[in-house]
C-alpha cells in the first residue's frame, strides 16, 4: 500500500506539510498564536512550561519541543522565545538544526523590542516558509513510512469489547504491511502487563515492559498514591469490568497482537519498525503529545463517551463503537464502529475498514479535530501525570 505524502530528508515522510510556530516557553506562546493566525499553512502550539523548572522537566520540555519540530508532518519551524527562559531560542534552534535539515528560524521577544516587533518579523518569516512549503509536491510513499499512534480516552463499556479490538486489528494489518504502530499509556497496562509482555519480541523487551509498570507504580507510591486503589472504579464495575485485569486487557487490546519490537521512553523516537510501545501517562492529551514528539505522523483515538481533542501537527482520528455517542457527538467523531455492537460486523471486519480510513487520512483527508484547528498539548513532568 502506498500513500501521497511529503518526503523528508531525514526519517519518515509527512502526511501534512505544516509550518510550525513554536514557542520556547510559556512566554512565547501568545505571540506564536498570533503569528500562526496571520499565515495560512502555519500552526502553533501553546506551551505551558519551559522556565523556572528542575532539570528533568527541562529535559522533557526540550524533548517535546525538538520532537514536534522534527515531526515529519512539519515542513519548517519559526521559533519564538523570550530571552530569559531556561533554553532560549538560539540554543533550541541549534539543537533542532542538528537534528533536521528542514528550515528553522528563531526570534527573541526581548531582543526584538517587544511582541509587536517580534510578531512582525515572525509573520514575514512564516509567510515565506509557507510559500515555499506550498511548492513541495506530494510523492508516493510506502505505507512503511506511517507511524500510527494509538490512543484511547473517554472510554466506556464498548471501548474494550469493540473499538479497541477493531483498532488492534488495524494495528496488526498495518504492521503486516510494513507500517509501524505505537501504543502508550503505560499506567493502564498495569494489571495486564504480564499479557502485554507476552508480545515482547525478546526477553529483554519482556522485562522492560514489566519494569515500566513496576516503576510507574513505585513512583506513585513514593508520593503516597496507590494507582490500584478503587480499581476498577464503581463505574467500571457497573459497566461490566469485574477485575483490573479485564480493564487493562480491554485497554491493551487496541495495540493489537503483533510482537513488540521496542519499549520507548516518553517522547523518544523509535529505532525499530513494527509494533512499539511508549511509557506515558494515561492522561490522553499528554500521551498524544509524547507520541507526536516521538514522530507519529497520525493518531487513531478510540472513545466511548466522545472527545474533541486534536493536535496541531498530527491528525487525530476519533472512532467510537457507541452508536449514541456517534450520533450525539457527530461533529467530533470520525468513524462509527457501532456495527460491532449491533452485530452487523465483526471487529475484524471493522479493523479492515479502518485501514482504508487511515489510508485516506494519510492522503490528506482532514479529521474533524484537524478541520477545527484544535491544538491540545500537555507536557509531562517529573511528578508524572497519571
Amino acid at each position: 500500500m502506498q500513500f501521497w505524502g511529503y518526503k523528508r530528508s531525514e526519517g519518515r515522510a509527512g502526511i501534512r506539510n505544516h509550518v510550525l510556530i513554536l514557542p520556547t516557553c510559556v512566554c512565547g506562546s501568545e505571540s506564536a498564536r498570533i503569528v500562526a493566525s496571520q499565515v495560512r499553512g502555519a500552526v502553533n502550539i501553546v506551551f505551558n512550561t519551559g522556565c523556572s523548572d528542575v532539570q528533568a522537566n527541562t529535559d522533557m520540555s526540550q524533548k517535546v519541543l525538538t520532537g514536534f519540530a522534527c515531526n515529519p508532518n512539519v515542513y519548517g519551524v519559526v521559533i519564538i522565545g523570550l530571552g530569559c527562559e531556561t533554553v532560549g531560542h538560539k540554543p533550541l534552534r541549534e539543537k533542532i538544526q542538528a537534528m533536521t535539515s528542514k528550515p528553522v528560524v528563531s526570534f527573541g521577544i526581548q531582543e526584538e523590542g517587544g511582541t509587536l516587533k517580534t510578531i512582525e518579523k515572525a509573520v514575514r518569516a512564516a509567510r515565506e516558509m509557507a510559500a515555499q512549503a506550498g511548492l513541495q509536491q506530494k510523492e508516493l510513499c510506502d505505507i512503511s513510512e506511517l507511524l500510527l499512534g494509538i490512543e484511547c480516552g473517554g472510554s466506556d463499556a464498548t471501548s474494550g469489547i469493540a473499538s479497541n479490538p477493531a483498532v488492534g486489528e488495524l494495528s496488526d494489518l498495518l504492521v503486516d504491511m510494513g507500517a509501524s504502530t505505537m501504543m502508550s499509556e503505560s499506567i493502564e497496562w498495569i494489571g495486564g502487563e504480564h499479557v502485554l509482555a507476552k508480545r515482547a519480541a525478546t526477553p529483554e523487551i519482556h522485562n522492560q515492559i514489566i519494569q515500566v509498570c513496576k516503576d510507574y507504580e513505585a513512583h506513585l507510591l513514593a508520593a503516597g498514591q496507590d494507582c490500584r486503589a478503587g480499581q476498577p472504579t464503581p463505574g467500571n464495575k457497573a459497566g461490566g469490568l469485574s477485575t483490573l485485569d479485564e480493564k487493562s486487557l480491554g485497554c491493551i487490546r487496541k495495540g493489537g497482537t503483533r510482537p513488540i519490537v521496542e519499549v520507548l521512553e516518553q517522547a523518544a523516537r523509535p529505532t525499530k519498525r513494527g509494533a512499539v510501545v511508549m511509557d506515558t501517562a494515561g492522561f490522553d492529551i499528554s500521551s498524544i503529545t509524547s507520541m507526536v514528539a516521538g514522530g507519529c505522523n497520525a493518531i487513531i483515538f478510540t472513545t466511548g463517551r466522545g472527545t474533541p481533542t486534536g493536535n496541531a501537527i498530527v491528525p487525530v482520528l476519533k472512532v467510537t463503537a457507541n452508536a449514541r455517542t456517534y450520533q450525539m457527538m457527530d461533529d467530533n467523531m470520525d468513524v462509527d464502529l457501532s456495527a460491532i455492537i449491533s452485530g452487523e460486523k465483526t471487529y475484524k471486519e471493522m479493523g479492515r475498514e479502518l485501514v482504508d480510513v487511515i489510508h485516506d487520512v494519510c492522503n490528506g483527508r482532514l479529521t474533524k479535530a484537524e478541520a477545527y484547528g484544535f491544538s491540545d498539548i500537555a507536557v509531562d513532568h517529573v511528578c508524572r501525570f497519571v
Binding site: A157, E204, G240, Y347
Partner: protein
C-alpha cells in the same frame, strides 16, 4: 439470528452481552462463521459477561484469550459473571520477569 453478545477470542469461556438480556432469553454470538446460542438463566446487564460453561469455585474466567481472574463461587452456564463472583489473582512484578540468560 441477530446476535446480542460478543465472543472476543475463540478460546474464551464467557461472552459479553451487547444488550440487556432478560432471564430466559437466548444469548446469541458469533464464533468464526457460526452463530451459537445459550439461554440466560438470570438477567444479564448490557456489556456484562455470561458464563458459557459451568464454572467451579476458583476456575479461570477467560476473555480476550486471557485470564480475567477466578470465580469466587460456582457459576453455572448461562449465569452472570461479575465483580461479586470473580476476583483478581494477585501477582507480583518480580515473578513476572523472565530470565534473559545473564544479559541483564
Amino acid at each position: 439470528m441477530k446476535i446480542n453478545a460478543l465472543l472476543i477470542d475463540d478460546i474464551d469461556n464467557v461472552v459479553t452481552c451487547v444488550a440487556d438480556v432478560p432471564a430466559g432469553a437466548d444469548v446469541c454470538y458469533r464464533k468464526v462463521d457460526e452463530i451459537l446460542s445459550l439461554k440466560a438463566e438470570e438477567n444479564i446487564p448490557y456489556c456484562h459477561k455470561i458464563a458459557l460453561k459451568d464454572f467451579a469455585q476458583d476456575d479461570e474466567v477467560i476473555k480476550y484469550g486471557e485470564s480475567l481472574g477466578r470465580t469466587t463461587e460456582a457459576v453455572k452456564k448461562g449465569h452472570w459473571l461479575w465483580d461479586k463472583n470473580m476476583r483478581s489473582v494477585p501477582r507480583d512484578y518480580d515473578s513476572e520477569f523472565v530470565d534473559v540468560g545473564g544479559r541483564g
